[in-house]
Amino acid sequence: MLIKRKTDLTEHDVTPFDLYKERRRFIKAGVAATAALGFPWLVQAKLTLGKITPGPFSTDEEKTPYKDVTTYNNFYEFGTSKAEPAINAGSLVPDPWSVAVEGECDKPGTVGIEDILKNHALEERIYRLRCVEGWSMVIPWVGFPLTDFIKRFQPNSKAKFVEFETLNDKKQMPGQRRRVLEWPYVEGLRMDEAMHPLTILAVGLYGNVLPNQNGAPIRLVVPWKYGFKSIKSIVKVRFRETQPLSSWEKAGPKEYGFYSNVNPNVDHPRWSQRRERRIGEFGKRKTLMFNGYEDQVASLYKGMDLKKYF
C-alpha cells in the first residue's frame, strides 16, 4: 500500500511557483550581472519566455506535479525507460536551434528559436495528456497555436498534410545509437488537424522553458491524440500532398495508426484503452473519447470509421 502521511502543511503553504521563479530569476540576474561585469564571455544567451497569458481550452483539473512531468517521460532518443530522459537529456543543446520549413508552401525557410519566441504571443494551455500505454497527466503547457506558425509559410493548395521531424544527432541524443525506432523520429498531422485551435507548438511548461527531457526547445502538443503524436525537439516541418508515415507506424503498423486519436472503444492490440491511470492517482479512471476534447474535434472525423482509421 502506498501510505501517504498527512502533514499539517497544505499546498498553499508552499512558496507560490511564481514567487519561487521570481526569486530564481532575481538570483540568476544577479549572478549574470556580476559575471557580465568581470567575465563577459561567461554570460551565455539563455532562452527565456516573455509574457504568458492564459489561453483557451484549459482544464481546471488538478495539475500533475512538476517533478512527475519532468521525470516520467517517453523520449526514446534519450533511452527507452521512463527515467532515462531526465538523466540523459543534458547533452541536448536547445539553443541555438532552428526549424526548417519546406515542402508545399510559398515561403519556405528556416527560423531560429529566438525568432519564434519573439513573433508569437505565448499562452498557457492546461491540457490532459494521454499516453498510449495507459497513463495520463495534466500539464500546463506554454505555447502558441500551430496554425499561427503555419500561416507564416503560406502553404499552397497541395499541402494536405504536415510532417514533423525530431533532431537526428547521436551526440546530443545518445539513445539514437540504438535503432529502437527509425531515426529521425517522424510524426504527421492532416492539415485540418494541424490548423485546429487546440493544436499548439509548446515552448514551455509550468511557466518556464521546456526541460530538455520534455522536448526542448519546441514541440508539438495535440491533446486529443496519444502522446507519441506530440513530437518533441522539432527541427523540420514539411508540407506534403501525401500522408506521412510516422515512426511508430513504421515500427508497428498494426498497433499504431496515423490518426492515433485517444479512443476508449478501440483497443491497442495488446492492451485495453478503456481506462487510464492518472499519474499521482491510485485507482484508474475511464478514458474519455478524444481524451475529453470530443466537442472540439469530433467533427474532424465525421463519417470516418475510427476502428479502421485508428
Binding site: L2, A83, V180, A251, R270, R277
Partner: protein, 202 residues
C-alpha cells in the same frame, strides 16, 4: 561453504528484492508511476528466479558441487512467491479486483494470457514440492515437474509481448533461457560427456 550456510544465505538474498521494493514503495521512491514500477520489479524477479532455478542442475553437473540440488526447491518456491506478489500487484493495485476487466484482459491480451497460464502451471509445482507429494506421486512427480521447462518460456514471452519497441531486455532473458535449455539437450550432454571421456587420465 557448507550447505547449511549456503541455504540461509540464499534465502536472505532472495528476500532482498522484496525488502527493497517494499521500502521504495513505502517511501514513495518508485517514481511517478509506483504501481507500474512494482509490477515490473516483481515480474522481473520472478523471471530471474525461474532462470536461476534452472541453472542449478547444470551447475551441479559442471562443478560437481551438491548444494545446487539442495537449494533448487527453495529457489523454485521463491520464483513462485514473486509470481504471487506480481499477480497480486496486478489484481489488487493495478485492477482493484475489477473481475470483469481482469477476465477481459486474460481473454483479449495475449501477453496477459501467457503470463496467467505460466502462473497457473506454477501452482501445482509449488503444491507438490513437499517430500510427501514426491513420494505419493512417485514417477508422475517427475513428469509433472517437467513443467519447469515450459513455464520460463511463457514468462519470457509474457515480457516480450509487453514491450513496445525495445526488446533488448526480454531478448537477454530469452538467450539465457535458450542456453539453459540447450545444455539439457541429450545431444549436447552426450558430446560434453564424450569430450571428458577422451581426455587423457592423470
Amino acid at each position: 561453504m557448507p550447505v547449511y550456510l549456503i541455504k540461509p544465505l540464499l534465502f536472505t538474498l532472495c528476500l532482498l528484492p522484496t525488502a527493497l521494493l517494499g521500502w521504495q514503495f513505502y517511501a514513495d521512491e518508485l517514481g511517478a508511476n509506483p504501481i507500474e514500477a512494482l509490477t515490473r520489479g516483481t515480474g522481473e524477479w520472478t523471471l530471474r528466479l525461474l532462470l536461476i532455478t534452472l541453472l542449478m542442475t547444470p551447475l551441479k553437473r559442471i562443478t560437481g558441487w551438491y548444494w545446487p540440488i539442495r537449494v533448487r526447491r527453495m529457489l523454485g518456491l521463491f520464483a513462485f512467491y514473486y509470481a504471487c506478489v506480481h499477480l497480486m500487484t496486478y489484481l489488487w493495485l493495478d485492477q482493484f479486483f475489477d473481475w470483469d476487466e481482469i477476465w477481459l484482459d486474460i481473454l483479449d491480451r495475449p501477453f496477459i494470457t501467457v503470463g496467467m497460464l505460466g502462473f497457473v502451471l506454477l501452482v501445482p509445482l509449488a503444491l507438490t514440492s513437499n517430500r510427501y507429494a514426491v513420494r505419493r506421486l512417485a514417477r508422475n512427480w517427475k513428469r509433472l515437474h517437467r513443467l519447469a521447462y515450459v513455464i520460463p518460456p511463457l514468462g519470457v514471452l509474457h515480457f516480450w509481448w509487453l514491450v513496445k519497441a525495445d526488446i533488448r531486455e526480454p531478448a537477454i532473458y530469452a538467450v539465457l533461457l535458450g542456453a539453459l535449455l540447450a545444455v539439457r539437450s541429450p545431444e549436447i550432454r552426450r558430446r560434453a560427456a564424450g569430450k571428458t571421456a577422451q581426455q587423457p587420465a592423470g
